[in-house]
Symmetry: C2
DNA sequence: CCCGGCGGAGAACGTTCGTTCTCGGTGATG
DNA sequence: CATCACCGAGAACGAACGTTCTCCGCCGGG
């Protein structure tokens, strides 16, 4: 347990620093100070900084997935579950230290030269896409709606980060409502 | 002219390298080699790497704006002009060296600690938003449509970059059509 | 009490980077 | 021809980084 505790402390400290300042601008010394661990302990858990970055991304993926699921407890209708995505985004954007999607940021910084990090980011986004697609199937809309709703979520994240405008989540939500209703009307027409 | 030529060569070389590998991973020595200039010449034109980055962003902004305008020559109807945005994105995504939006990438890498770069990125996105808003006004749709269309464009860029799927532009275009038509129908209802 | 290994603090090392300096050459001006 | 400002090539410098090593204190087993 103490070993796991150390590892978790390191990952969470690195996550805070990487997310807040960018990966390249945070040295291992800063991670050591923030985690209250030793460099030796860090390198015992992770064989390189890239490995630590991958662990941080995995950790963020767990947080994101758990947050998404908790945002839709009690929502049974797929339409509501789809729209809850944007409510979840809205609450995220309102956090004081919001600085965009950590996966997009990591990809922008390291994706070109680190295939492993690029793959981790792709996996995360694909997982989200699968979730959206599943709800789209459940409401019986055309599959083309799935990518459209995911694009809205992606765009809301970068718009909110760059413009500092958390209301991008509500814009995306309103757009999603129109798209969902249009897609379901289209399905109703032919079935 | 020769002075301008040197400056332009430096900016274009830096742009290629920064965009292809990320700003932090490209040193001034690499810029010197790619531009065929001397370090002294670079620092005569730009007092620091940050200044060079700002010049590169300004250059990219000009390219983007010019490309957008050329994508809609001959299109007179605002609806067509709005949709041409996504056609322009599609042709961009198909370029071999497409690696996402250089502004988003720069913001992800340096926005947290460099206010000047953050401001340059914000200005670029605000300029695009103004263009979209102007077309939205012209077709007489509710102003809330503007941010929604911009979010679609943002999301298409990151989706295409991360998933390596250029068809995100066509997904966004299809969604934009639905949103525009719904917004205009709504306006028609009440006037 | 003694000993051996483990862990932490931090120095050290090699590299890379942003920036500046040195040096030798070149071309215009008198 | 002499002078002088300017230029490019590249060395140099100080800082920061990722990673490893050294040293010392601590703790359990004899």
């Amino acid at each position: 347990m103490t070993e796991k505790g150390v590892r978790a402390r390191i990952v969470e400290a690195a996550d805070r620093l990487f997310y807040g300042h960018g990966i390249g601008r945070v040295g291992m010394d800063a991670v050591r100070d923030e985690a209250g661990a030793s460099l030796k302990a860090i390198y015992r858990e992770f064989s390189s900084k890239e490995d630590l970055v991958l662990a941080v991304l995995e950790h963020r993926h767990q947080l994101w997935t758990a947050g998404l699921e908790s945002a839709m407890v009690g929502l049974t209708e797929p339409r509501e579950r789809l729209l809850a995505v944007y409510d979840y985004l809205a609450s995220w954007f309102d956090e004081a230290d919001f600085r965009g999607c950590g996966f997009i940021n990591a990809f922008a910084e390291l994706g070109a030269d680190s295939p492993r990090i690029a793959a981790a980011v792709r996996d995360h986004k694909a997982s989200f896409q699968r979730y959206v697609d599943a709800q789209v199937v459940e409401i019986g809309a055309a599959p083309s709606l799935g990518p459209q709703l995911a694009i809205l979520a992606e765009g809301a994240q970068t718009s909110a980060a760059i413009a500092g405008a958390p209301d991008a989540a509500m814009s995306a939500r309103a757009a999603a409502e129109v798209l969902i209703d249009a897609a379901m009307a289209g399905q109703a027409d032919r079935g």
